[in-house]
């Protein structure tokens, strides 16, 4: 393996550069995926059948918590990648761990939120609106869940193998993924929750 030392470690080999470009393209596809979900949501938002409307079920407190947790986690993973660039493995691991804990907390609040919806009678089967809402949130939440496992695997690998071009590459790609989920959440927050509560 040829390592190019003029580049940051995660870009250091040809394969690494391929991986990063490939992942950006994958994110392009993910943007389409969420764009389609949003389209479905906006189309079905007012089609509540005999079920509740957005304004009746949304609660601002848990949503603010979720937003706070996810935004912070995006910040801490940024710090993690920065530490990685400086070659400080332990600092990096700490920040990645914090990130995942914040993600876990986010998921906890989201599960609470889903239970709330269930209790107020906004289930998956209630109406087109609830189905679209829960599918959009669920897809995002599913991504976060997958991210928690993925991030854990990466932490274990960095711990065991140290910062190599390979582990650095994986960590960097994971950080792109995590930032992406944050961006999607900002859209969810603004165009689903805030809009729905107005």
């Amino acid at each position: 393996m040829k390592i190019d030392h003029s580049q940051p470690l995660e870009y250091g080999t040809d394969q690494n550069q391929l991986n990063i470009l490939g992942f950006w393209i994958f994110l392009g596809a993910e943007i389409m995926l969420f764009a389609t979900l949003f389209t479905a949501y906006f189309t079905l938002e007012g089609r509540t059948g005999s079920g509740p409307t957005p304004g009746e079920i949304f609660e601002i407190t848990p949503v603010l918590f979720e937003t706070l947790l996810l935004l912070t986690s995006s910040f801490t993973i940024g710090l993690g990648v920065h530490a990685m660039r400086l070659g400080r493995k332990n600092a990096m691991l700490t920040f990645f761990t914090i990130t995942l804990l914040l993600g876990l907390a986010f998921l906890g609040v989201e599960i609470y939120e889903f239970m709330h919806y269930y209790h107020v009678g906004a289930t998956y089967q209630t109406s087109a609106f609830t189905a679209a809402l829960l599918t959009t949130l669920g897809t995002h939440g599913g991504h976060v869940t997958l991210g928690l496992f993925w991030g854990t695997f990466i932490i274990l690998q960095v711990k065991k193998r140290g910062l190599t071009p390979e582990t650095a590459n994986k960590s960097f790609i994971f950080s792109l993924y995590w930032h992406f989920l944050d961006v999607v959440w900002i859209f969810i927050f603004s165009f689903i929750y805030l809009k729905g509560m107005m």
Binding site: G28, A29, T43, S50, F153
Partner: protein
Amino acid sequence: MEFFERFAIPHPSPAIYASMVAIGLVSIGIIVGLTYFKKWGYLWREWLTTVDHKKIGIMYLFSAILMLFRGGADAIMMRAQLSTPDAKLLDAQHYNEIFTTHGVVMIIFMAMPFIFAFMNLVVPLQIGARDVAFPRLNALSFWLFFAGAMLFNISFVIGGSPDAGWTSYFPLAGNDFSESVGTNYYMIAIQISGIGSLMTGINMMTTILKMRAPGMTLMKMPMFTWSAFIANVIIVFAFPVLTVALLMGTTDRLFGTNFFTTTNGGMDMLWANFFWIWGHPEVYILILPAFGLYSEIISTFSSRNLYGYKSMVASMVLISLLSFLVWTHHFFTMGQGALTNSIFSITTMAIAVPTGVKIFNWLFTLWKGKIRFTVPMLYSVGFIPLFTIGGVTGVMLAMSAADYQYHNTMFLVAHFHNTIIPGVVFAMLAGLTYYWPKFFGFMLNERIGKWGFWLLTVGFVLAFFPMYITGLDGQARRMYTYSEATGFGPLNLVAFFGAALMAIAFLTIVYNIYYSFKNSPRNIGSDPWDARSLEWATHTPVPEYNFARVPQVASSEAFWDMKKKGHQLFKGDFKKIHMPNNSGVPFIMGMIFFLAGFSFVFALWIPAVISLIGIFVCMALRSFEKDHGRYISIEEIEETESKLGGAK
């Protein structure tokens, strides 16, 4: 007993029972044969675990041919049923199932793998690369396609075929009207292979952007690579839409959600929109690589460089953009306003312009060229007028007011077969004949090939042109029979003979493969057609590493310039070559996806969860795995190269 009842076929017929027996016998035959000839190890090492783009391409190729016959059998049954008024060969339900599976199999499981076959076989060679960017992912893409295809294909013997048309419009495709599990198969099988297609899109885009040989700027890429690139961009943007639509359709059917229902706020037109936002670009995913193949073939056999390279590229980019802006032309009559119809009518017609540019470029390439009428060239030359007719009838359909007359008639069926058969199927057969020697080391027989071409063309014209007339006279599509009084009888009989002729043509083509395998000479050299682009610059058969030395490119026809102007393609000494290791994981994941899909179709939750965990474990293992591939040493390269004849 109740448990097993769900696997029963809802509408059995003797033909289905016969197929069941045939499937059983063939499977047993394969297993016994492999065991008897001790080929399991070979199969596993050389094919099931391969990550070599050439072998993956060959697997796509054979799957596509297999599916062509499945879809063709459906087509023949439909044409036989319609060949005379009031025929009793099939009943209405059976006919519904057959046109549905015919459409899906042909588009998703025949045409798609066919284009993926050529992308895999040709793109890395044309850009002077050793493999695709992610060889393992590539293998996984193939196995996901294969799992999806097999899942879809067993529907008619286990649980029932889908019967709501290949467009699966709701509420027809909902539980109320499609009671069997058929539509579950539709949703899930297409989902699985769709994920594979998306990954191919990402893989190929990365490959083409990053792995071109030194000197090959974007505007020096051969035309097929360009077309593959654009098609993959469309894949990456279009397939996620399908993913979401299928997901929603699946939950509607399995979990009682209300996305596309007509109650509780559901909206059936949302499905139609999503389906066609994917579906229209999909036809360009298929046709652009076909155009790419025609470009290669026409310039090779005109002994002339392609006329208007830049306008070819520009027109493809334009087509790819427009393809996302026309989707509602598929439902002009479903109650959107006049303004919407007008807008989509105009954008649809606009696509004719860049397409026309391409047609003229091919004609100008032929003009003044020294034409050799080989089999690939016959298909390419035959394509031009036939496809133009299909295009003109497309513009007729694009006039939304007039569409109220043709909508859902045989006129439409004639139109899209008129574009897709000369456009895609001819291109695939041309490409098959053209590239066959590169990958298999012998030429296909020209004489039998020409028979195949003429039978197919005559059969095609007979099969589809009558439908324009009966369509304008009002013969509806998707109708299993018609009365004598309509007068559609004679023309439909002609169409049946046409279809039969096409079937004979396909058999001829397969016979040609068998015949040539037995009889064709093997020492054909690496460039039997006197071709122009880089894929012909390496040995035949292509060694595992494609090129012993990375080529130095200076034009879009690097190989031609090497032959005619003495341009040096290969400079310097051999260096050791890095290659990926084989892996069984993609194949295993494909099998698990199949099991997961099957479990979801029948709502068997425990195996479904277990297989999902299995998929997850495979991904986790992959994450932890340390596999840096291996190196081919200089001695090994020298040995291979001298065996294949001279240093290249």
